[in-house]
């Protein structure tokens, strides 16, 4: 084997990219979060000097009068989208599509994959049309109207949260759906046949045989998707942009983006936005570490058994 250097040659492109786009930014986001850097003093403020550092941004976050609103929104958004769709709906689709005719089941899974591969701008526009006021809106015209529910108003303004759950959930569900259905299909047929022979109903088979056997994928999807949801804000930004009322649907990640990278009232407050990000980064790292513990990281990093040439 030529030299001890070979592995590092193979790793070098990753090292360069990770340094440029993870390490340097990570260090910078920490430093920036202590400064008052914004569009107006860019090039003037020497943000890299400790003299210009203070905890003001963090004080500003925790004393922000919308702090509890934003925190509450974030928790509600993550918890409900996860429970209803990313795990709940994903499980329902996986269970049903593995218990009906193969072809039909497959068609349903392809259908549920569509939201994930649709460009997000088009996808949110589609939902706006579904939520539109009567007589244009599809849901008003074909569901609520005939049933006599509501006055045909623009549903996105009346029930913004419902649509945030739906729009994000329809994308999120496909991730769990794929993992769950492949896990269910991997369960040896003997188990389910045995329970059927013993006279169990389909429901009992699912409840007492299949669900316990997909415990790991369930746990994995829950932890992994919690992290994804925590930092996702694209759909909310395009759908309500935090509105319709003041901060009504603003979540943590969206606040960081708004403060730092949109010129709301003519200022992009990089420092303040960075502070919002740092809090999220810390939550993310803590959760990632817990997630490694849960998934028995040691087994994943076993030494290669083959390198004894």
């Amino acid at each position: 084997m030529q030299g001890q250097l070979a592995p590092y040659v193979f790793l070098s492109p990753t090292l360069v990219l990770v340094t440029l786009f993870f390490f340097i930014p990570l260090v910078m986001v920490f430093i920036l979060s202590f400064t008052k850097l914004d569009m107006t003093n860019f090039g003037i403020l020497e943000w890299w000097r400790p003299v210009n550092w203070s905890l003001d941004n963090y004080v500003k976050i925790f004393t922000n009068r919308f702090f509890s609103k934003i925190l509450g929104n974030t928790i509600m958004y993550v918890a409900l989208t996860l429970a209803l769709f990313n795990v709940g709906m994903a499980l329902v689709i996986a269970l049903i599509t593995t218990h009906i005719r193969r072809r039909t089941g497959f068609a349903f899974r392809v259908l549920w994959f569509l939201p994930r591969i649709t460009p997000v701008v088009v996808y949110t526009m589609m939902w706006r049309a579904l939520a539109g006021p009567a007589p244009m809106g599809v849901i008003n015209k074909y569901f609520l109207g005939p049933l006599g529910i509501g006055g045909g108003e623009y549903l996105l303004n009346t029930y913004p949260w419902v649509f945030i759950f739906l729009v994000n959930g329809f994308i999120g569900a496909s991730f769990g759906m794929i993992l769950f259905s492949s896990a269910i299909e991997a369960i040896p047929k003997d188990y389910t046949t045995a329970s059927k022979v013993d006279g169990a109903t389909t429901w009992q088979t699912i409840r007492y045989v299949e669900l316990p056997m997909i415990k790991w994928p369930l746990l994995f999807v829950t932890t992994y998707q919690t992290l994804s949801l925590l930092t996702s804000f694209e759909q909310i930004m395009l759908l309500t942009d935090g509105g319709p009322g003041l901060y009504q649907t603003e979540v943590w990640a969206l606040t960081a983006y708004h403060r730092a990278l949109t010129s709301y009232f003519g200022n992009t407050q990089w420092g303040y936005g960075a502070a919002w990000s740092v809090v999220l980064v810390i939550i993310g790292i803590v959760m990632a570490v817990i997630y490694l513990r849960v998934f028995k990281f040691r087994e994943l990093v076993e030494e290669p058994k083959i390198d004894q040439l």
């Binding site: 193979f10 986001v29 996702s232 390198d307």
Partner: protein, 295 residues
């Protein structure tokens, strides 16, 4: 006994009602793109007017035409896919086959990065791209790509590569782990270099893995919205991609032409859906293979 029948019925209902929403949504998109106005799913008049962006620039000559934008999107997606696949397989190979100090640390690092909220780094990445833009040669003025700095296709592609890498590395490592060591051993004994072995013997053997990762990366890049939005100067600029072009219709004009937006949206969506239908088996492979790698 009632309950026993009610439960499956309820279950089917929870699948069919939301599925109907997806179907209705996409039907609306299709019908509205060929209509002057639409009420629910009923067209109030058929037209091709919404598709005129295909042969003329709807915002005037200062905006790039749809074909330039499509080419941009294609170039960016292909570049990003290529880099992701090459870099992930290099690193995945080293992590799967070689013993070196720091291996464990590197593996846990990629796993943490994988779970890491990378969007929170958008602000400093903006500065990094500004710096890269100042580097001669690669910063700007690279043909086709524009360069790798701020407001270039290459820069946007590079940021997306970085965000995809942790996922790609774990997927590729999983595929390498499944390959027997024998072929490689004999080649190494015959004196082939590590690089040659990787390129000539191993890579051809993990074609399913390469296919799965390429499709996944390509779809991500083609649909990307947030990163191009954040790191290019504007929707009208020379590095505009399709998802930003779409945004033109929504905010620039006085009255948003939703029907035209739907048409452009379909224009962006149709190739992806076709691509997906032809490759879905390989794509679903990535999730199956991913279980082993812990992704």
């Amino acid at each position: 006994m009632m309950l026993r029948r009610l439960k499956p019925a309820l279950a089917y209902l929870t699948l069919i009602v939301p599925s109907a929403l997806i179907i209705l949504g996409f039907l609306w998109l299709l019908i509205t793109s060929f209509s002057t106005r639409i009420e629910g799913l009923r067209s109030l008049g058929w037209t091709l007017h919404n598709w005129r962006f295909l042969w003329e620039s709807p915002f005037g000559p200062q905006y790039p035409s749809i074909w330039v934008v499509t080419l941009n999107t294609l170039v960016m997606s292909l570049i990003m896919t290529l880099i992701v696949v090459v870099v992930s397989s290099l690193t995945g190979y080293a992590l799967s086959r070689m013993k070196f100090p720091g291996r464990k640390g590197f593996l846990s690092l990629t796993l943490i990065l994988h779970a890491f909220p990378s969007v929170t780094l958008l602000i400093p990445i903006y500065f990094v791209l500004l710096w890269i833009a100042k580097i001669p040669l690669i910063g700007r003025d690279v043909p086709l790509l524009g360069g790798f700095g701020y407001n270039t296709l290459g820069g946007v592609a590079l940021v997306m590569v970085a965000f995809q890498l942790p996922f790609g590395i774990w997927i590729m490592k999983g595929f390498f782990d499944n390959i027997s060591w024998d072929m490689e051993r004999s080649a190494l004994i015959d004196g082939a270099s590590r690089f040659k072995v990787w390129w000539q013997i191993i890579m051809p053997n993990i074609k399913p893995g390469i296919a799965a990762l390429s499709i996944f990366a390509f779809l991500t890049a083609w649909n990307a919205y947030l990163i191009p939005l954040t790191f290019t100067a504007g929707r009208a600029g020379k590095s505009a991609v399709l998802s930003l072009y779409l945004q033109n219709f929504i905010s620039e004009s006085v009255m948003t032409e939703w029907n035209a937006v739907a048409a452009v949206g379909l224009f962006q969506l149709v190739p992806v859906v076709l691509f997906f239908l032809f490759t879905q088996e390989a794509l679903l492979n990535i999730y199956g293979g991913g279980k082993k790698g812990g992704v």
